[in-house]
Amino acid sequence: MAGGNAHEEPDLVPLLDLVLQLVMFFMMCANFVMEQVDQTIKLPVAQSAKPSTTGTDSDIVFLTINNKGEMLAVGRNHPLTNDDEVAVYLQGVYDDAKRRAGEAARKAGADPAQAPVETLVIIRADRAAEYSSVYRVMRKCSDIGLRKIQLRATVQLRG
């Protein structure tokens, strides 16, 4: 037994571990959000925009269209300026999604060739972009096989 004069210090090491883990969590979240959601894009405002329900879905592709009509994609440093670049990028996205869907179907004992591609394409276009630029991307997504498309807008509360 320790005597009455024993100087007991709290063990701060586990607390430090915990706080460092929290710091890492916030740093990683901030990075992911910054990469997917370009802050320079000014989204249009809409009252009927529903709160996003796709936060945890991993099979999502964010496509950003800036005010010049150029498409920005995650992992690409430069905007995709012409139709061919956009088509090649989207074809790559589709092929990856098809491969993943095929692997999942194979594990489940189903036919990999019949596995549907469930990738959700989220288009974040700047309010100053022209409709032709946005339509071009939507049409290409649809034609390549990425049929689940969603637009993003800033939610404006009614009243």
Binding site: A46, I122, R136, R139
Partner: protein
């Protein structure tokens, strides 16, 4: 030549890591990240839409994709109402609501009037799909404003047609 380390407190001195100082600093980092953590996705909302399917289900290669190919009407979901938007300089010049043989022209892009026309049609026809047919020069902001009106009067879904001016080109 080997140097001997000098130990002022002897070899048995215990090296202490200043845990409280590190903890203070880490708490400051944590406070910073918590205070600056403002995910924009919280302020963002989703707007569901449909794309009329093209006649060809899927292009064989990327080169074959024609972004302005007309869709095959047989593959489209039933579109009951079309909202045509004419635009030259990016803003709405003229709105036309087409429902079967009827068409209503709304001048100067008056969205309140559009809402009232669409609400009347919605009450008459019930749940229906709307297709927006806008000129390519229209700014996305105005397109979303029209889509917002369509969804606001509780139409089932909203789709988009190719810009007519680009098809003509």
């Amino acid at each position: 030549m080997r140097r001997k380390r000098k130990h002022s407190q002897g070899d048995n001195a215990k090296v202490e890591i200043p845990i409280p100082a590190m903890l203070d600093m880490t708490f400051q980092f944590l406070s910073f990240f918590i205070l600056t953590f403002n995910p924009p996705s919280v302020a963002e909302g989703q707007m569901d839409m449909f794309m009329p399917a093209a006649g060809q289900a899927k292009a064989k290669t990327a080169e074959q994709v024609d972004p302005f190919a007309l869709s095959n009407p047989e593959n489209e979901p039933g579109v009951d109402i079309t909202v045509a938007i004419e635009s030259r300089l990016g803003v709405i010049d003229k709105l036309t609501v087409k429902e079967k043989e009827n068409s209503t022209v709304i001048a100067e892009g008056n969205l309140k009037e559009l809402k009232s026309v669409l609400a009347t049609i919605r009450n008459e026809v019930g749940p229906a799909n709307v297709k927006i047919e806008a000129d390519g020069a229209l700014k996305y902001e105005y397109l979303i404003a029209v889509m917002d009106v369509c969804l606001g009067v509780k139409f089932q879904s909203v789709g988009f047609s190719p810009p007519p001016d680009l098809i003509r080109r």
